[in-house]
Amino acid sequence: MKKPAKAVVVTGVIGEDVHVTGIRILEHALRSDGFEVHSLGIHNTQEDFIGKASEVNADAILMSSLAGHAEMLVKGFKEKCNRAGLEKTRLYIGGQLVIHSEAWEETEKTFLDQGFDRVAVPFLRPGAILAQLNRDLGTHAVLDMAG
């Protein structure tokens, strides 16, 4: 018998973006750490994330964007999640979120204001993301991560 997953997450890249390496490594790390991962891959809309998260009753959505258009792409996402009954689903975003150069605190604030729970600084490693996710969800780390 397979052990039940400790938590359910939905992962994917939003928008017309083909960068897949980062999210694929993170998905591998999440599975190794005992999460049930529902991967949406590349080219997703807000509705794709919400549809999948509702279907699987996700504890968290981990969204990636590398093309720098994230602010436009996630506008209204939190409200739509709430309307879909996903008030408790935690929202995470990471990647290259903006095109222009600005202080990280400003970028982080932009996305926190949009209703995301956590905003991953560029080049944050999978180990740090897993640790944060485990803390937020009250789950125990399975992987012994060096990073």
Binding site: V20, T21, R24, I25, H28, G41, I42, P126, A146, G147
Partner: protein, 480 residues
């Protein structure tokens, strides 16, 4: 028609052609009798398949850049520059991404903008929009052969027009297009589209026009070479079943000399063996090597060293054709001047090394790599045949579903994505996770041992951080 690795009946091919030629108005320009006559009046030196056979017979290595521009003028000037200033022996028409996704109206719009502004707008040559006549304007201006270039799930109309327009081959394939260029297209649909392309090439072969089909399997990302060789041999067997007679085997060089040389040897040996076993003993195979896309150094001096290094590997491996990255592609789409500099650099290296015919292929490190690689390829391929009841196409469809055929970092959601590579302490690619690949204890223990050696050298466990570093370390100036 249920998909299998059988040659398409003529009636089925004709029905399919009617549909494909109707996809865009230039489809009506294709007339196969005229196309065959056009190819027959071209000098043999402009045929890619004949040219690489000559290289094989005379122990030569040729150079082939991959490049393409949008307007007839831009593309013609680019290829003339690469031929005359870059000393390239075989040229390519890299197809723009709108055309590769069959968005011909967008390609047309981009082409109009490029023609109006005089500046390139598209990222390649929109062969379908240019039609047969436009394509021949480019081909007629050149002395060297030209290949169509670029993986895509549906290059059927591109081939109808591109081959009738005078191209004598194509580089791409169903498996690489599936893993790395789609999100949600079933592998059987892509194989079907490639059976069309392969049958069309088979038709030209039947008329006495050799066509060079270049397979490329999968894009590597610290991938043990069996991850590329298996899908490449599948592409070879699909092509041979439709009548393709000249196949170029693409070897993706990742930088570890013994492993890269073993790749070239193992792939050629097993491709020929599986062709023979499947009853296709009249197929000619030749070899090609290139370093994969992926992050490259930004400093020109470092890139020149890498171009030389990868050219050397290809020559030592005895390939007929070397491709290369270019000095400026870490910054932007390569310019014709940057490409010419890069290929003259490769040419100098080639001119020094090629006539020496040095044999280092019996080196014991190369042989050790060959030994394990061969076992891996056989384990997976034989399982694919078993799943298909002897039919490689049916087996492929089942094996993708089961994760027996798998890739790291695929764009397709239909790929299991469990396998993951990491470098060992010498920089060779090993399985960090072999997923559901049907490997025996011996193979798994080999990789585990190599990973333990790296951990000892690092004095820590391999983590995802190690893998991420391995993916980008060459751009920072080192193999490991």
């Amino acid at each position: 028609m249920e998909i299998s690795n059988s040659k398409w009946p003529d009636t089925y091919f004709r029905e399919q052609r009617d549909k494909v030629l109707a996809m865009w108005p230039t489809g009506s320009e294709v007339e196969l009798g005229d196309a065959v006559a056009y190819h027959k009046q071209m000098p043999p030196a402009k045929n890619a398949a004949l040219k690489v056979l000559k290289a094989r017979d005379e122990n030569l290595t040729y150079l082939c850049p991959s490049s393409g521009s949008d307007t007839i003028n831009n593309h013609r000037e680019l290829l003339i520059h690469l031929q005359n200033e870059g000393e390239a022996d075989i040229l390519t028409s890299y197809i723009d991404s709108f055309t590769r996704n069959c968005r011909f109206e967008m390609a047309q719009e981009g082409l109009k903008k490029a023609e109006a502004s005089g500046r390139p707008v598209l990222n390649g040559f929109p062969v379908v929009v240019h039609g047969v006549g436009g394509t021949r304007e480019v081909i007629n201006a050149l002395d060297n052969p030209v290949l169509l270039f670029g993986p895509t799930p549906d290059a059927r109309l591109t081939h109808e027009i591109g081959l009738a327009g005078g191209h004598t081959g194509y580089s791409g394939g169903p498996m690489i297009s599936f893993w790395n260029y789609t999100k949600d297209v079933p592998v059987e649909n892509i194989i079907h589209n490639f059976q069309y392309i392969n049958r069309l090439m088979g038709f030209y072969e039947e008329q006495g026009i050799p066509m060079l089909y270049c397979v490329s399997g999968a894009m590597p990302s610290i991938s043990p070479p069996s991850l590329m060789i298996v899908p490449e041999i599948i592409e070879v067997l699909i092509a041979a079943a439709q009548g393709v007679k000249h196949i170029q085997l693409n070897n993706w060089l990742q930088g570890h000399l013994a492993q890269d040389l073993a790749y070239i040897l193992t792939f050629k040996q097993l491709a020929d063996e599986y062709l023979e076993k499947s009853g296709f003993s009249d197929v000619e195979t030749t070899t090609y090597s290139v370093s994969p896309t992926g992050r490259f150094p930004t400093a020109h001096d470092r890139v020149y060293a890498l171009i030389s290094y990868f050219t050397m590997t290809g020559i030592l491996g005895g390939v007929q054709v070397c491709g290369s990255r270019t000095i400026d592609e870490a910054h932007h789409i390569p310019t014709k001047e940057g490409s010419a500099h890069s290929f003259r650099n490769a040419r100098m290296f080639l001119n020094m090394l090629c006539p020496q015919h040095m044999n280092i292929l019996e080196n014991k490190d190369v042989q050790a790599e060959q030994n394990i690689m061969e076992k891996e390829v056989r384990a997976v391929l034989d399982k694919v045949f078993e799943l298909g009841g002897g039919d490689v196409v049916k087996g492929t469809v089942a094996a993708v579903d089961m994760g027996i055929l798998d890739q790291p970092y695929a764009t397709s959601q239909r790929v299991r994505g469990k396998v993951l590579g990491v470098k060992d302490s010498t920089g060779a690619a090993r399985f960090y996770d072999a997923g559901d690949l049907p490997f025996d204890r011996e193979i798994l223990e080999f990789h585990e041992e190599k990973i333990r050696e790296r951990e000892t050298a690092l004095n820590q466990k391999i983590s995802y951080d190690t893998i991420i570093n391995d993916l980008t370390v060459i751009s920072e100036g080192r193999i490991i």
